[in-house]
Every structure is written in structure tokens, then in C-alpha cells.
Subunit: 337 residues, 2 copies
């Protein structure tokens, strides 16, 4: 997957350099795992090109500083920190979810073992906060505080998501609250952290935070849709993997809660033990769509994006920066990127 | 195991209350695991009494503030933070090491599963730093910075320790460096964080840090000795568990490096695959002793304690506080506590 195209190449280079400097702080053992996980090296430590994720969160963080009228460099420790927390969460989540593939490659824990992946995640989380604390002054301290709170919510969201797997009575409200924690909190933090570091007025920080929270919901809804109906080329994961793992993602919970005949049939399929044959997974996807889960998620994603844009429209900032934030929001919630 | 007896009951109650308030910040899922891990509740969430660890690190942190002439309360966020980081590391280490018992109870990961234990550890680490960031001002920011650096070293030490398990050429210097990171860094931080929060002169912070680093080495040497020759009543772990796991602990590495006939026989035993019968483990312990590993570790522990006391003797602080720090150091490095 390529980077967010609307973020400048200069911004991306800035973040990339600072990310590499951050990873240099690590001991050789956790550095090896994390450099692989970040897509920089192969399993033997040889550099590879074209790896890495979308760098969505750093792009938002740099724009967040610009929204406050500051240079993007002001946000740099924050941009790197949010990306490191994101990387930490993926590294640990893959172990917990048993996901063997990440961005078209074997997940780090399958290459280096779960222990190395646990420690690698721990290390990423630690240096994320350390980076912010290296900056002096109350703004950096506030930014570190915002990041730890977002991290705590992210962890809570993942814990709740795992809890859902063993429950058959998950409500849509519970599922939305889980996503607000698991995905929304760190995206909201990414959108606000640059402005926080730039010492922006609380009203602007708050508006950016809310924009990010809504964007996070839209983003997760689209991700959930791709997890069921996306092609492996796009997702970097095996086809139907979310259904194979019996994830209670938003379209699934919406379909289960719809009270239709298909909802009941879907609940039966979800209650069956593993292994799940391919045709059963395809039938599951069909039932989610027939029960209205797909249409609901698509409408909800559009609604959340609209809400995000409304928040953005009301905030005081340069119109060029506003347009860049809006374009990123539209890009990452488009179905075919 | 009972608490550090020389820490005042008032201090212990202060920390206990603040620890419980900190855990209240967590979502119900990670709170459940962490409250069990901390010895407050049983597997079903029912309160239990008499649980918990020695609370060595919080006791040192409170004394650290008093060494700087401040009230122990000044150190409270730091005292709780170091204990939370310690708890985080044990929670994750038990998963990685496959240790099924902790403080005479089933380890948390065996009760709640590895995923819940991974998340519980992540959550503990996050709130540890959050607690310090809740305090305003540059001293709190410095304390948070010191804690993240100690945490990073602790993780590096554990990574190196795991790496040792698959290597048969670990030198004593490497092993000492590993222990300085894995155990020394957080103990040094515990001894310095109260003075840091009290805005003490750098010379005092530095002296306390070095005292803690030496104490950490002595403490780990004694712990390693107990891991081989200690009784399960004392350690809370099965007998000979460190040898069963083929840990390259300090007495083992010293014995392997001694170049005796017993060293070579020991290396052969260490190279054998699992499972390890009981009599082989007893033979391993005998060889470590015969190769001089036990005597070296005992002498080294005494030397490190002496070094710690020397550091303490040179620092400018109230003599009563100095005596309390010295007594704690002697107590936790005594063989029979």
C-alpha cells in the first residue's frame, strides 16, 4: 500500500528520518524485530524498499501543527510518537489475534516468535513517549499526556474487542464504543498532537481531536468492510480473514442486531466452532449483506466522514490546511485505495 | 512474602491506596487481569488479603524523596509508577519465560490467557507514565523521562536474557550488562525518582541512582542464587525452575566461564534438549557449585552491596534516611528473607 498521496514528500521524508533515529535508540534485539515490523528490513535484517504503512497518522500530526499556524517540524516528535504507538498496537494485536500476515508479509511474531514481538511492542511504546519527553516545556508534557491517554484507550478497545469474540450478545452501541477506543482515540490524538505541541488554543485542539475521532470511526467502518469484502491485494491479509477469526466487527454486529431471519442464521454460523470451511465464510459474508450489515456500515461511514468534515469546517485554520485535512479524510475512507 | 519490614506501615498504606486508584483508571478487562496479578483478587475477582509483592521499589522511592529533605508524599506518583512498571515487566516476562507460577499462585497468563496478560501489561506501563504526567512542572517531566529510559533498559535486558537462552557462548560481562539493564535500571530509577520529583540537586539524584544500580546487581545475584538453591516456600516458584528453563543466570554463566571440568560437563547438560528429569537438574546445580558459580555469586553479591553502601555513605542526606536505605539494601540481599 502506498502512502497517503496528499501528504508532501518532504513531510514523509522528515518523518521517515525521525522514525529511523527513534528506532536507533533500541537495543539490537528489539530493533531487529521492530525494523522488520515497520517494513524496513527483511527477516535477515537486509534493507528492503517500498515497505511500511500508509503513514496516515504522521501526516495528520504534521498538518495539525500547520493548522495551528506552526511549521510542520513542530509536530515531528508527535508525528513519530503516534506512528510508533500505532506500530506497537499492530505488533501486539497480531499475536493476540493470531494474524499470520501483515502488509503482504509474514507477521513479525511468526518470524521472530511471540516473545520477541511482545518485547518489540513494549519497546516501541516506551520510545514513543520518550521522544515527546525529550522536548522541554509544558506543551510537550501535555502532548505526552494526550498520547498516554490515547494509548490507554487503544488498549481498552483491543481488550473489549477480544472480549467480544467469546460473547454472542454484543450490542451495536458497545461495538461503536469499542471502535471509538481502539481506532478513534489514536486518530484523534494524531489530529490534535501537532496543535498541542504548537501550543494552539484549546478550541482548535478540541476541534481537531473531534475531527480525528469521527474520521477514526469512518476509517474503521471502511476497514471492517474491506475485512469482509476487500480483496487481499488491498488489505494485505488473506481473503475473509476477519470472518475466519469470527471478529465481531461493526458490519457483523449491525447484521446480528438487525433481527432478520438472516441475522439468526448468521448467529448460528458464528456459534459454530473452528475450523471454518471457505464456503461457510462466503455464506457468512452473504448473510451479513442480506441482513443489512453492509449497507448500514457504508451509510455510517459516509455519515461519520460528513461529521468529520463539519467539525473541520467550524475550526479556525488556514483554508489550504483545512482542504488538505479534508482530502486525506476522503482518501483514507474511499473504498478502493 | 511479606513487605519490606523497614518501610513504614504508613508509607505502605499510602502507596497501596494510590496503586488502587491508579488501577481504577483501567477498563474492566485489563483491570481484572492486573488486579489478579497484583495479588488483590482471585481468578473470579473476589478480594483476597495478604497478596502482593514486597513493594521494595515504592519503599525506595519514598525514601528517595526523604533523602532530598522532602515529604515522602512528594514521591508518591513515582513510587506507584515504578511498582506498575515492575508489575508490567513480570506480567509479560511470565508469558515469555513460560513461568506458570508467580508468588505461590498460577501466573496471570495461565488464568486469563496470554492475550489478556499482554494487554494487562501494556495497560500497566501506560498508566505508570500517565501518573507522572498528571503532575505539573519540569520535575515531573524529568521523572517521567527517567522512568521511560529505565523501562527501555529493562526491556532491552529481558530481550538479551531471552537471546542468551539460545546461545552457548555468553560471557560473564555480557551477563552482567544484561542484569544491569533488566534489574539494575528500574531499581536505580526507584532510588532516584523521589529525589527527582523533589527537585533535588543532580549530585544527590546521581548518588541515589548509583546506589540503586549496585543494589540491583546484588539483588539479582541473590535472586539467581535463590532460583537454584532457594526453597519454593521462599521463591514462590517450583524448585530448580531456573535450571529447568535453562536460564543463563549469573551463577550459571560464572560456572560455565570458569574453565573447569565441571564447567564442561555443565555445558553438556545445558545443551541437552527438554524435558529435564529432576536428577539431571540436581546434578546441574551440583556442577554449578563445584565450578565455583555459587561462591562467585555470593562474593559478588556481597561486593555489590558494599559498593551500594559506599555510594550511600558519600551522598549528602539525613543520617536517619541513610540508615533506612542501608537497612533495606541489607534486608533484600539477605539470603533467607
Amino acid at each position: 500500500m502506498t502512502g497517503v498521496p496528499l501528504a508532501t514528500a518532504a513531510g514523509r521524508a522528515l518523518v521517515d528520518e525521525a522514525m529511523r533515529a527513534a528506532i536507533e535508540r533500541l537495543d539490537p534485539w528489539t530493533r531487529r524485530v521492530t525494523a522488520y515490523h515497520l517494513g524496513w528490513v527483511d527477516a535477515d535484517g537486509r534493507p528492503v524498499t517500498g515497505g511500511g504503512g500508509k503513514a496516515l497518522r504522521p501526516a495528520l500530526a504534521l498538518l495539525s501543527a500547520r493548522a495551528a499556524g506552526a511549521a510542520p517540524e513542530t509536530a515531528l516528535p508527535g508525528a513519530v510518537a503516534v506512528e510508533l504507538v500505532h506500530a506497537f498496537s499492530l505488533l501486539h494485536d497480531d499475536i493476540m489475534d493470531g494474524d499470520r500476515t501483515r502488509r503482504h508479509r509474514p507477521a513479525a511474531w511468526t518470524v521472530f516468535g511471540p516473545s520477541a514481538a511482545i518485547l518489540g511492542g513494549d519497546a516501541l511504546m516506551t520510545i514513543a513517549i520518550e521522544l515527546l519527553l525529550d522536548e522541554d516545556g509544558p506543551a510537550a508534557q501535555r502532548a505526552a499526556r494526550v498520547l498516554t491517554e490515547a494509548t490507554r484507550r487503544l488498549i481498552a478497545g483491543q481488550a473489549r474487542d477480544l472480549d467480544f469474540e467469546s460473547r454472542d450478545d454484543v450490542s451495536l452501541d458497545e461495538c461503536l464504543a469499542m471502535v471509538a477506543d481502539k481506532t478513534g482515540a489514536l486518530l484523534a490524538c494524531s489530529c490534535a498532537i501537532g496543535a498541542t505541541l504548537a501550543d494552539a488554543p484549546p478550541a482548535l485542539v478540541d476541534a481537531l481531536d473531534r475531527f480525528g475521532a469521527e474520521l477514526g470511526m469512518a476509517f474503521q467502518l471502511v476497514d471492517d468492510l474491506l475485512g469482509i469484502w476487500g480483496s487481499p491485494d488491498t488489505t494485505g491479509k488473506p481473503v475473509l480473514s476477519d470472518l475466519r477469526a469470527r471478529k465481531k466487527s461493526l458490519p457483523v454486529v449491525a447484521a446480528l442486531a438487525a433481527g432478520t431471519a438472516e441475522s439468526r442464521r448468521l448467529a448460528e454460523l458464528y456459534a459454530r466452532p473452528a475450523p471454518r470451511p471457505e464456503d461457510e465464510l462466503r455464506e457468512t459474508a452473504r448473510l451479513i449483506e442480506a441482513a443489512g450489515g453492509r449497507a448500514w456500515a457504508e451509510a455510517q461511514a459516509a455519515h461519520r466522514l460528513e461529521q468529520a468534515e463539519t467539525r473541520l469546517g467550524r475550526a479556525r485554520m488556514d483554508d489550504g490546511v483545512r482542504a488538505e485535512l479534508r482530502d486525506i479524510a476522503r482518501f483514507v475512507t474511499a473504498r478502493d485505495h
